[in-house]
């Protein structure tokens, strides 16, 4: 950079501190969600199947017949909305985390094999992935619900099957680029066998983009679970998730807007935070990945 008019321009300090702050803030928010989801329903002594029709459709802040305040209102069968949101959070987060674990495990393993081995292994796994992507997840969900009935487990299964591909693809790309690096050759020369090289040498170095993908996927899975529940293809009525509550609240949008809106806000908040966390992680690990 030249100094055209003699003035010396200042150079801003390149610091990674703003990114670290972002990551910490996001993690704190998610942790709060988590704590609320785990302990909230216990503290509130919540029973999702109990109905209280005398206290139904109460506005946020209104008083119940027994004198307690319904902080966020009640729904159409009298359930406390605050408890519903907390309980629903638990369902959504369980669905998110377990789906991620299952999809991640399957996807990363398949991606590693495909990328590391190459050849026919790669070809077969990638065609499998293409097949998966071509198949609409909704159909699978309908099929499973029809056959097995609605349950949280089925939701997790469906979403895992629908989402493993992105993990496989990212892992495969990483494996392809890492496997020819000299330190992998070095480990091989020292006597490392295939599985060791894949899981102990390549995989730990492939984690950075996977972390980013994972945070974004969790958010998408939570939305997907909510959508499935919204359509009646998700958790049963006895296990209220945010999607279910939102769905129920549809009919009351003009009279009791809080039933659909408040869980909706909670859902958006969590997914947004996860997305921003993913962004910050990506920036932290490799600013050149901004185009991903």
């Amino acid at each position: 950079m030249r100094t055209p008019n003699g003035k010396v321009p200042t150079i801003k300090n390149l610091s990674s501190d703003p990114t670290r702050t972002r990551i910490i803030v996001m993690l704190v928010i998610i942790a709060l969600y988590g704590i609320a989801a785990i302990f909230g329903p216990i503290l509130m002594n919540f029973d999702p199947t109990a109905t209280d029709l005398t206290n139904r459709l109460l506005a946020p802040g209104a008083e119940r017949t027994d004198g307690t305040i319904a902080v966020l209102g009640t729904d159409q069968i009298g359930r406390d909305l605050l408890s519903l949101v907390l309980y629903g959070g638990r369902v959504s987060m369980i669905a998110g985390v377990f789906t991620l674990l299952l999809a991640g495990l399957i996807g990363v393993a398949l991606g590693l094999f495909a990328g590391f081995r190459g050849g026919w292994t790669d070809a077969i796994i990638m065609r499998l992935a293409d097949l998966q992507l071509a198949f609409p997840a909704i159909l699978l969900a309908i099929l499973l619900v029809a056959v097995l009935g609605p349950s949280l487990l089925n939701v997790i299964l469906v979403l895992a099957v629908a989402n493993w591909v992105v993990f496989a693809r990212v892992t495969r790309a990483q494996a392809l680029s890492i496997r020819s690096r000299e330190y992998v050759s070095a480990a091989h020369t020292l006597g490392g066998k295939q599985l060791y090289l894949m899981f102990r040498t390549v995989l730990p170095n492939a984690l950075a983009p996977l972390l980013v993908v994972a945070t974004v996927q969790v958010g998408m899975v939570i939305i997907a679970e909510a959508s499935l529940s919204f359509l009646g293809l998700g958790t049963p009525l006895s296990t209220p998730s945010w999607g279910l509550v939102i769905s129920d609240g549809r009919a009351y949008l003009d009279t009791a807007w809080w039933i659909a809106t408040i869980p909706g806000l909670a859902l958006s908040g969590l997914v947004l935070t996860l997305g921003l966390l993913g962004d910050a992680l990506r920036d932290r690990f490799d600013p050149r990945m901004k185009t991903l």
């Binding site: 000299e182 050759s185 070095a186 020369t189 020292l190 006597g191 490392g192 170095n205």
Partner: protein, 338 residues
């Protein structure tokens, strides 16, 4: 008891090729190593020289097992490696190791210095007891010129020379007899290169090592090697005692190669003859018939195209060369160049 005259490493008629394009449909193939044979005696250092496309790196990788030959034989102390079972191959790991070129890429960024070294024992259970890993690793790191407090640091915290030292310590971890140095000093600054060369010299003496030293820098090869082998387009052009090859190169390519090395003090002594090769390296997919060097050789004739010259001794010197028209023996030109 192994016959002490058995070479530690015997390579015969080795061929390695790579498909171009899709691995599934083998159409075009690169002849990376084309009928290479040589011996490496215990305790010797063989310098493998060549330019890009010569196949020297592929040869190294094939010997160490990272690439697989199409045909030929590699014998380590009499035991055949090509086609050997995985178990048999694993035995050789303890006898033959490698130091890689790129100090940054050859270390796993997630392993500390001592972990990089102890990985050798991790993947070979039974060689060193787990409780001893730390001490043995630190010992090795000190042996290559690092401090104990370097042991817990990560690769990015070291300089290029230090990383290369870690790579050398790692190669020594399994107590090998043969170490293949694949351009081990090429990526280092001149002043650091000298340190590592001295280190390699000391280790050779202390551990009774045999080196297969691959480099493109001729001065480095001359400094370290007893024997020198010159490769071009996958084939051996000339091989023999370094003294002989460097002072009296008989193969036209070797002569051209040596004449191209710039002298640090060109004003000392008479002006050297500069042989400038014409043309480019021919394609490795379709190597020239007969002698691979003929397309750029000023002496090439039809014979060179029809018949690939065999590796044989030429009158007047001891080294082997593959040429129909060897260069004359050089007069003793003991001019002091540095």
């Amino acid at each position: 008891m192994v016959d002490p005259r058995t070479p530690l490493l015997e390579v015969r008629n080795l061929h390695t090729e790579f498909p171009i394009g899709s691995q599934l449909r083998r159409r075009n193939v690169v002849q990376a190593v084309n009928d290479v044979s040589f011996d490496l005696q215990r305790g010797e250092t063989l310098g493998l020289v060549g330019e890009s496309g010569s196949g020297k790196s592929t040869l190294a990788r094939t010997i160490i097992g990272l690439d697989h030959p199409v045909s030929g034989s590699i014998k380590l102390d009499g035991a055949e490696l090509v086609g050997a079972s995985a178990k048999a191959r694993r035995e050789t790991v303890r006898r033959m190791q490698m130091v890689f070129q790129d100090p940054i890429a050859s270390l796993n960024p997630r392993l500390t210095a001592e972990d990089s070294v102890s990985e050798a024992w991790r993947v070979n259970p039974g060689t060193v007891k787990r409780g001893q890993w730390h001490n043995r690793a630190v010992e090795l790191l000190e042996r290559v010129g690092l401090n104990p407090d370097h042991a817990k640091r990560y690769p990015h915290q070291f300089s290029g020379g230090q990383r290369q030292r870690i790579g050398i310590a790692r190669a020594l971890a399994l107590d090998p007899e043969l170490i293949i140095c694949d351009e081990a000093v090429s990526a280092l600054d001149v002043s650091v290169q000298a340190q590592i060369l001295n280190l390699l010299t000391d280790l050779r003496r202390d551990f009774n090592l045999t080196y297969l030293f691959i480099a493109h820098d001729l001065s480095v090869v001359r400094h370290l090697s007893d024997q020198t082998l010159v490769m071009y387009l996958g084939a051996v052009m000339e091989t023999g005692e370094s003294e002989s090859v460097f002072t009296s190169p008989r193969h036209p390519y070797t002569r051209a190669l040596l004449s191209a090395v710039p002298a640090v003090r060109p004003w000392d002594g008479p002006p050297r003859e500069r042989i400038l090769l014409s043309g480019d390296l021919p394609s490795a997919i379709n190597p020239p018939t007969g002698c691979p060097f003929r397309t750029r050789c000023w002496k090439a004739t039809q014979l060179c195209a029809d018949e690939r010259p065999e590796l044989a001794v030429a009158d007047g010197t001891e080294q082997l060369l593959a040429c129909h028209f060897p260069e004359p023996v050089a007069e003793a030109q003991e001019v002091s160049h540095t």
